[in-house]
Each structure stands twice: as structure tokens, then as C-alpha cells.
């Protein structure tokens, strides 16, 4: 595109130039579950200020103490209020209800949904299809005053929580509508050694990213692994 005064198009922005997010406070709703706890541990260990939230403040405090690295714990509302970025790591089962109850506290915040709507039966895991299309789109619907992104779906809670492991060898697919928000999430993921945050589309393409966890569960079973994802040629 050339403007009417003949100015040239600006050069494409370097997709690896990401903002400094080291001063932002990160809340983790559902921070006492394996995924939330693992993420809180990795981010705290990377030097991020982390507050985990739970329905019961005492449970959050107990989990925070266990994690160390300056992680604090409180109830979900306090966690949301005190954080700049809020990671949603609650079970899919209570996802909508929890977010709805925190609408006010989450207003103006960057909300990162990492929930995988899955069902389980004797043949293993399978994708559930939320009415809104995905957990992330449900969050966006329920939180009109928040900025919603999606990321951190494919991480092994076992590896995240293992203090013997120094690097998490994986890419984090980040989805969102606003480039500035997506870049904050990418930068946050990239603070964890071994991880890269990579833009991977808009929220309407979140469903397949969320439900790919069903496939990773099959992989883990067959290969006795904690599978993660890398994007090649990127």
C-alpha cells in the first residue's frame, strides 16, 4: 500500500521483537491444579511476580509456599484484582462460571486462557466443542471488558513441576485478536527457558489448538512420553 503522498509502506515488523514484560504481575486462576501450579512455578522461577488464585485463599497460600520463588496465593478475586495478566487454568467444568463471577475484577486485564475442553472415556480423551467454539472464545464472550488471548495449552504439568528440569523444550502457540496483546503473551512464554511464544492465529482458530491435547495424550500413552510441540522452520 502506498499512501497518497507517495510514502513507502513501512517495513514489516520483526516478529521476534517482543516487549519487556518482566515488571508485570501474573495471576494464575486455578493455580492449585497441576497445570496452573506448574506454570506459576516456571514463571516465578524465571523472575516473574506471580500470584496464584483459588476458590479458597488458604489452599492458594499453601500451594504458593510450596512453590517458593516469591509466589503468593489468595482467592480468585484478589488474584485477578492484583494482577496485570491473568492466566486461566481452571478445569473446563467450572470455566464459564468462574470467569462470569470475576468479570469486574478482570476488566481491563489481559486474560490468557489455557483451558482444554476434553472428555474422557475408555478409549481415552476426545475434544469437546463449546457452544462459543472454544474455551478462549467463551472467555472472550463472558469478559467483554478484558483482552483475551489463548496460550500454554500443550505443556506437560509433570515437566513444569519437576524442579530437576531446567528447560522446557517446547513452543507455545499464542492466539489472539490484538497484536500488542499477543506479543505480551509471547514475551511471557519466552521468559521460561526452552520455550518460545509463537503467534498462531486468531481466537476463531483456538479450538483445534485446545483440543490437540487429546492427541498428545494418545502420544504420551503410546510412547511413555510427556509430549510437547515444536514448530519447525520458524
Amino acid at each position: 500500500m502506498t499512501s497518497s503522498n507517495g510514502a513507502q509502506k513501512a517495513p514489516a515488523k520483526d516478529p521476534w521483537q517482543l516487549p519487556d514484560v518482566s515488571g508485570l504481575v501474573v495471576g494464575v486462576l486455578g493455580g492449585t491444579g497441576p497445570q496452573g501450579k506448574g506454570l506459576a512455578y516456571r514463571l516465578g522461577r524465571a523472575g516473574q511476580k506471580v500470584i496464584i488464585g483459588s476458590r479458597a485463599a488458604e489452599r492458594a497460600q499453601a500451594a504458593a509456599e510450596e512453590l517458593g520463588h516469591g509466589v503468593e496465593g489468595t482467592d480468585n478475586a484478589g488474584c485477578a484484582r492484583r494482577s496485570d495478566i491473568v492466566i486461566v487454568a481452571v478445569p473446563w467444568d467450572g470455566h464459564g462460571k468462574t470467569l462470569e463471577s470475576l468479570r469486574e475484577e478482570l476488566a481491563g486485564k489481559l486474560v490468557i486462557d489455557c483451558v482444554n475442553p476434553l472428555g474422557f472415556d475408555k478409549n481415552g480423551a476426545y475434544a469437546l466443542m463449546p457452544d462459543e467454539g472454544s474455551a478462549a472464545e467463551q472467555a472472550a464472550d463472558l469478559l467483554p471488558d478484558s483482552r483475551v488471548a489463548a496460550a500454554f495449552h500443550h505443556l506437560s504439568a509433570v515437566l513444569l513441576q519437576d524442579p530437576e528440569i531446567d528447560e522446557i523444550d517446547t513452543d507455545v502457540m499464542v492466539l489472539g485478536e490484538a497484536r500488542a496483546d499477543v506479543e505480551i503473551v509471547q514475551a511471557l512464554a519466552s521468559r521460561i527457558p526452552g520455550m518460545r511464544g509463537i503467534f498462531a492465529g486468531r481466537l476463531r482458530n483456538a479450538h483445534q489448538v485446545e483440543s490437540l491435547v487429546a492427541n498428545l495424550i494418545s502420544v504420551n500413552r503410546r510412547y511413555k512420553a510427556h509430549a510437547g510441540i515444536r514448530l519447525t522452520d520458524v
Copy 2:
């Protein structure tokens, strides 16, 4: 599980012990499109006997001649009839109709669906949801006398077709119901230098694997890449 006569459970089968598929003839329906042509080229170059199919035999023959490596071309029905394994690389648009018309020729064959049902608009690509759940499940519905698997969804047609590239740095997620069939597909993928075929679940979990291509298209745009997927810790 211990049987009543006290025998021990058999040791878990080595998931990397795959059958020898070097003698099987591979057909590629839609072999004149970029994806089909790329796959035919790589498999032919790896020493596999490949027959590409197209609605018009002459177009298939012309494409085959271009590819070399002993690749032959004929019409879709002839391709299906002469092959042991048939890769379906037709556009999603004609997927159901093409398979329905080849039901007889495909009876008894191992059919590998690699079709990605996607829509496109000004914001890029997005997942379509087939009534059957996925292209692979549609194939299984339409071909009750065939064995249907799904694989080869995330390959860059550009890289596949580039003769300067010796290795394709990617894993191939293979989905299917019968372990023996899945292993044949894994073995076939693993013949291409750089590729590993990895079991990644049953056909009911094919939709997210097929539609993840929409995310890879976003990645490719942002990073000027030909993104592929690797599974870590496997």
C-alpha cells in the same frame, strides 16, 4: 493383567518397531495438486512405487513424468485399483464425491486421508466442521470396506516439491483405529528422510489435527516460514 494360568502380561510392544513397507504400491488421489504431487515426489524419491491419480489420466501422466523416480500416472480409478495404499490428497470440496465414486476400487485397501477442511476469508484460514466430524471420519463413513487412517496433514507443499531440499524436518501425526494399519502409515512416513510417523490417536481426534493447518497458515504469514510440527520428548 495376569491370565488364570499365571502367565505374565506380554511386554509392551516397541512403538518404534514398524513393518517393512518398501514393497507396497502407493497411490495418490489428487496427485496433480501441490500436496499430492509433493508427497508423490518424496515417496518416489525414497524408493517407493508411486502411482498418481487424477480425474484426467493425461494430466496425471504429465505430472508423473515431471516428478521422475518411477512415478506413474493414470485416472483415479486405475490408481486406486493398482495400489496397496491410497493417499487421498484431493481438495476438500470434492472429497466426499470422489471417495464415493471409488468405493469399489478402494475396497480392502488402506486409505490415508490427508485432507484439511478449511475455509478462507479476508482474515485468513479457518476450520470447517464436516458433519462426520472430520475429513477422515467422512472417508471412513463412505468407505466401509476400506481401512481408513489419517496422516500427512501438516506438510508444506513448497518444501515437499523443492528438489534442493534433502530432508523434511517434521513429524507426521498418524491417526487410525487399527494398530497394524497405523504402523504401516508410520513406516511409510518414516521412509522420507527427516520425517517420523507418530501415532497420535483415533479418528475421532482427527478434526483438530486436520484444522491445525489454519494455525500453521497464520504462523507462515507472520514468520515468512513453511512451518511444520515436531513432537518433543518422543
